[in-house]
């Protein structure tokens, strides 16, 4: 699991990236950078702790509560520590029509956890999400930026084994 250190700070490369993001917006509208910057933060720490949010608020010169309000609204931000691989599977209609419920059932059984839980070895976190805009290629799940599509029980086995290495 990724832990936040006591002194929360972006790596120099990420800090440069954040500066570049802030400059995209008109002067005084740096709050617009909040969502992209939170993504960068999640990339670095794996999740966004309240310390990270306070740090981001400082960088963007906005109130901490403005960051809390936003981070809790959008479902992509993990507000608690997560495993090494976060599997976000789509539970919405079209994916379920294509046998999603069975495949996800298999996935849960294989990992021995329910949605919202993390395996004891800290390798996998399961998260249930809504439509991922890949309905024609369902069932679908996403791990970080990668989409895994047309899932079957066998494919799930392969992916999990590959990632467990």
């Amino acid at each position: 699991m990724t832990e936040t250190s006591n002194t929360v700070a972006f790596t120099p490369e990420r800090l440069a990236q954040v500066k570049e993001i802030i400059e995209r917006y008109p002067a005084g509208k740096q709050k617009s950078a909040l969502l992209p910057v939170l993504h960068v933060a999640q990339e670095q720490w794996g999740w966004v702790s309240s310390e990270v949010m306070d740090y981001v608020a400082g960088l963007l010169d906005i109130l901490p509560v403005e960051v809390y309000e936003v981070a809790t609204f959008y479902t992509m931000f993990h507000l608690d520590p997560v495993g090494k691989h976060v599997i976000e599977y789509c539970r919405t209609g079209p994916c379920c029509l294509m046998g999603g419920e069975d495949v996800y059932g298999h996935l849960k059984q294989k990992l021995g956890i329910e949605a919202g839980q993390t395996t004891t070895d800290g390798n996998f976190t399961l998260k249930e999400v809504e439509c991922l805009a890949a309905c024609g290629w369902g069932p679908v799940f996403q791990i970080r930026e990668k989409y895994y599509m047309n899932l079957t029980n066998e494919k799930v086995d392969e992916i999990i084994e590959e990632l467990s290495k």
């Binding site: 995209r24 917006y25 008109p26 509208k29 709050k31 617009s32 950078a33 909040l34 969502l35 992209p36 939170l38 993504h39 963007l60 906005i62 403005e66 309000e69 936003v70 609204f73 959008y74 479902t75 992509m76 931000f77 976000e88 539970r91 919405t92 209609g93 079209p94 379920c96 029509l97 294509m98 419920e101 999400v129 809504e130 439509c131 991922l132 805009a133 890949a134 309905c135 024609g136 290629w137 369902g138 996403q142 970080r144 930026e145 990668k146 989409y147």
Partner: protein
């Protein structure tokens, strides 16, 4: 083969790169528009094309552009809505992934028309890999002089920013999208004022769907009139349809508006028919929020005419016997699909995605989901069916944004056309709550 406006070159290897895209005639519209047309002339072409918003509402794009306020000294913005999250819709995802330069070319032409010097593409955060593709393409376009300062020496400046969302369907609603773009919670705004007057940063703003904007290069190259000659009646041009569910060939297809629903469903050029050994039970023609129709009403209108893939034909008969074009999310159900379970699933989606700002949607979506969950799991009673219809009516039209309507319609239409299936769940609770159990009686009440 039908005419392709957007996807003509989609299978050309390397089309996602500037070089190949340019070789296929890409960015010609930018040259033509910036060098030979005034912004107003570009708006005029958009109006003539008759193209309607492809995000779901179907509002004429040229007219929307015409509403943009142009006060002196205040910047104007164009924001592209790429927050595609409507269940059953994945066309923008496909288009941006395969043809990033087509969207960028459209953005340049459209921004020029509206007098915007900074434009945004708001992409849902889950599509981070598409964001990277777009950012790469933007860098290429910039390196080749199609973006940045003094484009092609015409004196026109444009900067394109790709913004990532954070996982919220509601941000596909244009004012929620603007709030999100300002770094806030995706709470839709009360209208008026409309974005055309007070949008992003309180400045005049136009928000358009990816597909709408991607049509603009063709419109500029060939003229608005040529565009309006394609299609049928007020449904001009082509439309990307995202086909999913129980069909042979799920995927994204570009069709000329006016194509028969039956042809689209059964022809090998498109869906290729229902999967083998099964038959059509029901169909959602425009994304999860539009009314679901039973097989016989989707093929023919109540008046017995062939149903066409057009805004008018799909909505023929109103909500009693018709549906909507919506965003073109074509979800097909064969006889193995349980309508009650699917309705519950969709209802859970809207419950999960309600922003929580206004009371009918915040409370009503959750209530409907709970009632549907009970019916599906064998704990329903007969009055629950009417209760569902009543809750949906109380939400519809009374909310700040259309999410309330979108949550109400699938429930109301499922009960309208499949009431017997709901009743079966209540009269046979044990049977109905078994995994995979599906009502095998009459397919639908008319």
């Amino acid at each position: 083969m039908a005419r392709k406006i957007l996807t003509e070159h989609i299978n050309v290897p390397g089309i996602e790169t500037f070089e190949v895209y340019r070789k296929q005639g890409g960015y010609a519209a930018v040259e033509k528009a910036l060098k030979t047309l005034t912004p107003d002339e570009v708006v005029e072409e958009a109006k003539k094309s008759g193209i309607r918003g492809r995000g779901g509402a179907g509002f004429p794009m040229g007219m929307k552009w015409g509403f943009l306020a142009k006060p002196e000294g205040i910047p104007r913005y164009l924001v592209c809505n790429a927050d595609e999250s409507e269940p059953g819709t994945f066309k923008d995802h496909h288009l941006m992934k395969c043809l990033p330069h087509l969207l960028i070319e459209g953005m340049i032409v459209s921004s020029y028309a509206l007098g915007a010097n900074k434009s945004f593409i708001y992409v849902r955060g889950e599509l981070m890999y598409v964001i990277r593709i777009l950012e790469k393409a933007i860098a290429e376009a910039k390196a080749n002089g199609f973006l940045g300062k003094n484009i092609l020496g015409t004196g026109y400046d444009l900067e394109l920013v790709v913004q990532s969302g954070g996982g919220a369907y509601i941000c596909g609603e244009e004012t929620a999208l603007l709030e999100s773009l300002e770094g806030k919670r995706g709470n839709p705004r009360n209208k008026p004022p409309f974005p055309a007057v007070k949008g992003l940063y309180q400045s005049p703003t136009v928000v358009n769907n990816v597909e709408s904007i991607a049509n603009m290069p063709w419109v500029i190259n060939n003229g608005g009139e040529a565009y309006s000659a394609i299609g049928i009646g007020r449904s001009t041009g082509t439309k990307l349809i995202s086909a999913s569910g129980h069909i042979q060939k799920p995927g994204v297809y570009e069709i000329e508006l006016g194509l028969g629903v039956e042809e689209f469903l059964n022809s090998d050029e498109y869906c290729g028919g229902i999967r083998k050994g099964h038959h059509l039970k029901a169909l959602v023609a425009g994304g999860s929020s539009v009314p679901i129709l039973p097989a016989h009403l989707i093929m023919k209108t109540a008046a017995g005419e062939d149903r066409l893939m057009s805004y008018e034909s799909l909505s023929d008969g109103g909500f009693a016997t018709g549906t909507m074009m919506g965003s073109g999310g074509f979800i097909v159900f064969d006889e193995t699909a349980c309508i009650v379970r699917n309705t519950w699933n969709f209802s859970r989606f809207y419950h999960h995605e309600s922003c929580g700002q206004c009371s009918p949607c915040r409370e009503g979506t959750g209530w409907m989901e709970k009632v549907l969950h009970r019916i599906e799991h064998g704990h329903g009673s007969m009055h629950d069916i009417d209760l569902l219809v009543d809750i949906s009516k109380k939400i519809e039209g009374n909310t700040i944004c259309p999410l309330g309507d979108a949550a109400a319609w699938p429930v109301a239409s499922a009960v309208r056309h499949f009431r017997d299936e709901f009743m079966w769940h209540i009269t046979h609770p044990h049977e109905a709550s078994q995994p995979g159990a599906v009502y095998q009686g009459e397919m639908a009440l008319v």
